[in-house]
Symmetry: C2
Subunit: 306 residues, 2 copies
């Protein structure tokens, strides 16, 4: 005889709430039901799962084993029903979208309203994290897709580019001879400030400008664009700002100088598991994101003037 999923749920709730009463109400049953369920589980397995020698609700070592396996099973069971629901309407229900920090705050104002309009039944959950961790989450099934910057090695995952994003140079006002455009070589005359390691923006900026890490100013470790911009604002050096960030108003009060052809760029794209939640609707979502990132400019301008 096999243990029942319901019993494993009880055990799970018990671990989480450390109390029969609270666990019971979390499971929407009475305490007696949960109590009986646990007892049944123990009878079935022939082993106690909770340690009754001590006052607190504590699992036996074996109980911990059961709990661990049980959690995995419950997760898998949940995945089944989720797949079923997605099949009923691929554009409804939760969609967990990961976005890297150098895109998220500047793209969200565009994404949120567009998704709300195009996919009204979809609940969008945003996970902001570095590329490496987003890909990890994709593999784990913790997120369904990742909005990130390319090139980036994504093995066993599908991906598609949405748009090319230009970089502009940002520098404190008056630090540079007034010029309308600049060339890549002009960077050599300044201290180039970049984000700390781990941010793909750092790597893409280095690559786009054919800079070596040594040519960047390493004393400060900025872990976010706003921090980086503050440094620039105080005259510590120059930096490369992605278009979207620059247009969001982040560069207000700075000189934002576009590059002459060929301007340095990075690619913005979507990445997802071929067998995952997105699979059936990747085209639709790509279109929506494409629209989100272009309407973004209008929104950005609105924000800037406000």
């Amino acid at each position: 005889m096999l243990p029942k999923l319901r019993q494993l749920e009880y055990l799970n709730a018990l671990v989480e709430h450390r109390s029969f009463v609270r666990a019971a109400e979390a499971c929407f049953v009475t305490q007696s039901t949960l109590s009986a369920g646990i007892k049944e589980l123990e009878e079935l397995l022939g082993q106690p799962v909770i340690d009754r020698s001590i006052k607190k609700v504590t699992l036996t070592p074996f109980g911990q084993d059961v709990h661990k396996d049980g959690q995995a099973m419950l997760k898998q069971a949940g995945a089944i029903v989720e797949k079923a629901q997605i099949l009923k309407d691929p554009l409804a229900g939760p969609l967990r979208l990961g976005i890297i920090p150098t895109i998220a705050p500047y793209a969200l104002p565009g994404i949120l309203p567009v998704f709300e309009e195009l996919f009204p039944k979809m609940e969008l959950h945003i996970h902001e994290d570095l590329t490496a961790r987003l890909l990890e989450s994709l593999h784990n099934g913790e997120i369904d897709a990742a909005l990130m910057a390319f090139p980036y090695p994504v093995k066993n995952l599908q991906s598609a580019i949405i748009k090319k994003e230009r970089f502009v140079a940002a520098i404190a006002k008056g630090q540079m001879m007034a010029q309308k455009t600049m060339k890549l070589n002009d960077l050599k005359n300044h201290k180039v400030l970049l984000l700390e390691d781990g941010h793909c923006l750092r790597d893409h900026a280095l690559a786009a400008c054919a800079l070596s890490p040594k040519e960047t100013w390493q004393t400060f470790r900025a872990s976010s664009l706003p921090s980086l911009i503050e440094m620039v604002r105080h005259g510590y050096g120059i930096t490369l700002l992605p278009d979207m960030a620059a247009e969001s108003g982040l560069g207000n009060g700075l000189d934002l100088i576009p590059f002459e052809y060929p301007a340095p760029t990075r690619d913005i794209g979507l990445c997802w598991r071929p067998s995952g939640r997105i699979h059936a609707i990747s085209d639709t979502v790509m279109e929506a994101l494409s629209e989100s990132l272009s309407t973004h400019e209008a929104i950005a301008n609105r924000l800037k003037s406000a």
Copy 2:
């Protein structure tokens, strides 16, 4: 609401037997019960899992998904109850032991009676396969331990040596000047026959004798010791025979010539997953195997004379 394990069992049986009636009896229920169970599952998920447009019992693509996840869940549920049973008596119940082909037939006559006596409540299942595949099975949890030859790289697995096994040279009668012992160098004067690639015995023999693969006779691909011995018997060359095999009577009718010091050897040992079935009783099992492999000699002699 979550699908019930029972329903997933039904689906599983249905896939396996391709018939409601047969699946039902495999589950020890009537066909109507199974039918209702499947229907319930489909109602719960809001999606059909079996394709009713065609006559044969066929799963919908979604059904295949459910089946796959369901199987994993059932396996895990089974693992839970198995762990519970093992906890009740670690020396009772099934123990799946893998053994490599160059050990199995010669060690089993020793192992089986010893295990029967020491662990009367244990059901021993023997899986004979090459080392690489046994290790794979260990990782998958398909077997609990592997009796194999060392050295062999076993990552993430625990292992212990049981005994050193000497090799003896085997050659057709009269092909070699009558000598009581031989040296490793004497091998150079003969065609050395070994098992085909994949058998660790091949590698260990090569290593033990400091032979290069080129010095062996490659025209024949023997995939078992008995075949190899037949070649030797017909005068194709000489081979290295593990002690246990030689004593089992396999070398009857051949000249079996022991090596002078240092005799070539291989190590026989046990390998298991640290978290696995064996963990709590590895010492006991090691002792039993050690006894099995030494009593083996007595038994082998008995067999030889018979």
